[in-house]
Point group: C2
Chain length 411, copies 2
């Protein structure tokens, strides 16, 4: 059997470990040099590949340089938000597979979230229709943890660690003054509250902040919210409130829309920002108390110092597993998943899920994990999430004392 | 000679190492158990002390627990923004010194910025007027680095490391898409641009982002800014711009005031927020390009993971030195300063400055360090700042996998 080549792409928003998944695939491919020739990377995903942009990892990150991927934020290959046409008769499909043929691709990997699994689904269905033997595998990633059929997603553990530690630090900062204050922390997550729920891990003792946590799984009512904040202020000097960017009222209107204009991205997602600032002003105006807001913003997905080592190792594992099953078992049209074998000790294994079932669906925080009239998170969540944020990897430092990243030359 | 006691307070906004200065004073006091009896901490500074609130470190942080101070954000003792009256005949002064007498205080330390040095100045002048032998020492701290008569301030190095690394990460995040984009990063600093200047350290190579850096030392003109962003976009896909929260136009109006209401704190400082968001909207509306903004916010002063080890060690050194000179040399009415002996190798020694000269003054970034028509920072600054952000201390972790902090019980 002659050698076949591998191609990998990254798509959608980055996570702190999306490059660790990439590392896992490329590392495992290079280990199988008897069966695999070159390992290519699509630059800016399918969109860039259609423009003829790709690289060869042996040239781009030779030898030990590959290791830097594990501590590099962003998407090393660049990303895209390109949606393949629903109609598999579209000429883009034969065009893509002709390119794959030219590059002698035998294995195609796409690292991404819901929308990227849609790409994997379409490509694998098209491949089946033309009887192509290219193995097509989806590698999950999202800080939102909203993919179904997997215990959790690579990227979530690091983002959750960022949220937990940063909210703990913000709480310490809030305790500095003996003056009644409310701090609103706005956390990423459009429709699923997994990341906001992780703020419960910031508590150092029972009754510690954050005292109120609001997820998008529950309808938000500003008058009800003000009463809950007022009650918390009656018993505490400094109140820290964590809210998801995607909180909305019972009519589905996002709270951030109360105050600002919003646009939509090409998938039709509303581009959200600003509910924290809105609630800060509301609390100040209505409760006449010192208020501030902190939007955790992109550091949730790109903070290298707060990568969870567990998350990093699992991302590498998922990447390596994907290559192994495609190569050794001929698996195609599947997404790599995590199956939890045990909470304590925490044990996780890789699984395979039908990508057609995964794409364009969302997993929400179970209703029974949201307690105290929609303002708190249950112990079940803590048991679930705590293992995912454990450990701090060693980050290689450059001569300037800052982390050394694997970076492509660019304009 | 009978033993005298020590009392320490913290005042003003916290830094990542304000508790390391506290550690230095308390550690050194405990080393001198032959001459020093108890070491007290004022809870919420002078203001709390006047309400009778203080603690004894031997009870509050016994034995090795003291070590946790070095990795604890916020102000362990709590802070205040209490301004002592200008008139030294005010009855608050004899009241304070009677309390000191009751507690057998021989040494008084106040850790803070400009406003806190004002407190130290007034207390030491009053002490002189009543011929009190209490030694009164100011310990500097501010992330703003705006105290005069010192090479730099404890707290600045860690905040600068936070800014440099986080801007580097945000840049990697910005490089993910091949679509023209502008990212505005808003950095703390009311009137001095030291912290915003540290964003220049984020560059990995010549021509890397951040491409434009704006300090409050230079008048800001929005039309000029838009032209500079447009020029940067002509040659680059992703443009990262760093701005100080305190940028203002030639008439002294803050850019954030163009868009929002602002209040003032009790020292008459304008409370700023939002120039980043304002410029984001301006860029989107006028240049029709994808724009986003990131406000680095309080993590600049409370991120434990990005403490500079150099900064931490110097804060401890300043604390210990203050205790030593008060105890052994009878020094009073002075602020501990840093004197740079050499850039390479980086060597710093402690000095003593007249606190009357330090208080209520501000040190700005030298005009000659601000280059390229007010959009860039010179190599002189890099030589100055790079040693200050070096090293990562080991942070003790709790059973939950998050940093273990020294925390007081509170309501």
């Amino acid at each position: 059997m002659s050698k076949r080549n591998v191609i990998v792409g990254q798509s959608g928003g980055p996570t702190a470990v999306i490059n660790s998944s990439l590392y896992g695939i490329v590392f495992e491919a290079m280990e199988h040099y008897d069966k695999i020739g070159k390992t290519y990377g699509m630059i800016n995903g399918i969109e860039g590949f259609l423009e003829g942009r790709y690289l060869d990892f042996a040239e781009s990150l030779p030898g030990g340089n590959l290791e830097f991927l594990k501590s590099t934020p962003g998407a090393y290959l660049g990303s895209c938000r390109y949606k393949l046409p629903d109609n598999l008769d579209d000429p883009v499909y034969p065009r893509l597979f002709e390119e794959f043929e030219k590059l002698n691709i035998g294995y195609f990997f796409y690292i991404g979230g819901n929308d990227s699994m849609d790409t994997v689904s379409k490509l694998s269905r098209y491949a089946r229709s033309i009887e192509s033997d290219i193995r097509i595998i989806g590698e999950p990633k999202t800080i939102d943890n909203d993919l179904i059929l997997t215990d959790h997603t690579p990227g979530y553990g690091s983002a959750a660690r960022y949220v937990a530690q940063t909210v703990r630090e913000i709480t310490m900062d809030a305790y500095v003054y003996e003056k009644k204050s409310v701090t609103i922390v706005e956390i990423m997550g459009r429709h699923a509250g997994w990341l906001t729920a992780a703020s419960v891990l910031a508590r150092k003792y029972v009754g510690d902040n954050p005292l109120l946590i609001y997820l998008p799984e529950v309808d938000f009512d500003t008058e009800h919210f003000l009463k809950q904040v007022e009650a918390a202020l009656a018993e505490n000097i400094n109140v820290v409130v964590c809210v998801s960017e995607g909180i909305h009222d019972k009519d589905g209107t996002f709270i951030c829309e109360y105050d600002s204009n919003v646009g939509t991205d090409i998938f039709g997602h509303k581009m959200l920002a600003g509910c924290g600032r809105y609630l800060e002003n509301l609390v100040r105006d209505r409760l006449h108390v010192k208020a501030r807001s902190v939007e955790l913003n992109v550091s949730q997905r790109c903070s290298v110092s707060l990568i969870s080592h567990t998350d990093l190792q699992e991302a590498v594992m998922a990447g390596r597993y994907g290559l192994q099953v495609a190569l050794n078992r001929g698996i195609t049209g599947k997404m790599i998943s995590f199956v939890r074998c045990s909470d304590d000790p925490y044990v996780v294994a890789c699984g395979l899920e039908d990508v057609d079932e995964v794409c364009n669906q969302e997993k929400h925080v179970p209703a029974e994990w949201i307690i105290h009239d929609g303002t708190d998170i249950s112990q079940d969540f803590i048991t679930y999430a705590l293992p995912l944020i454990q450990g701090a990897p060693l980050i290689p430092m450059g001569e300037d004392g800052l982390p050394a990243f694997a970076d492509r030359k660019r304009k």
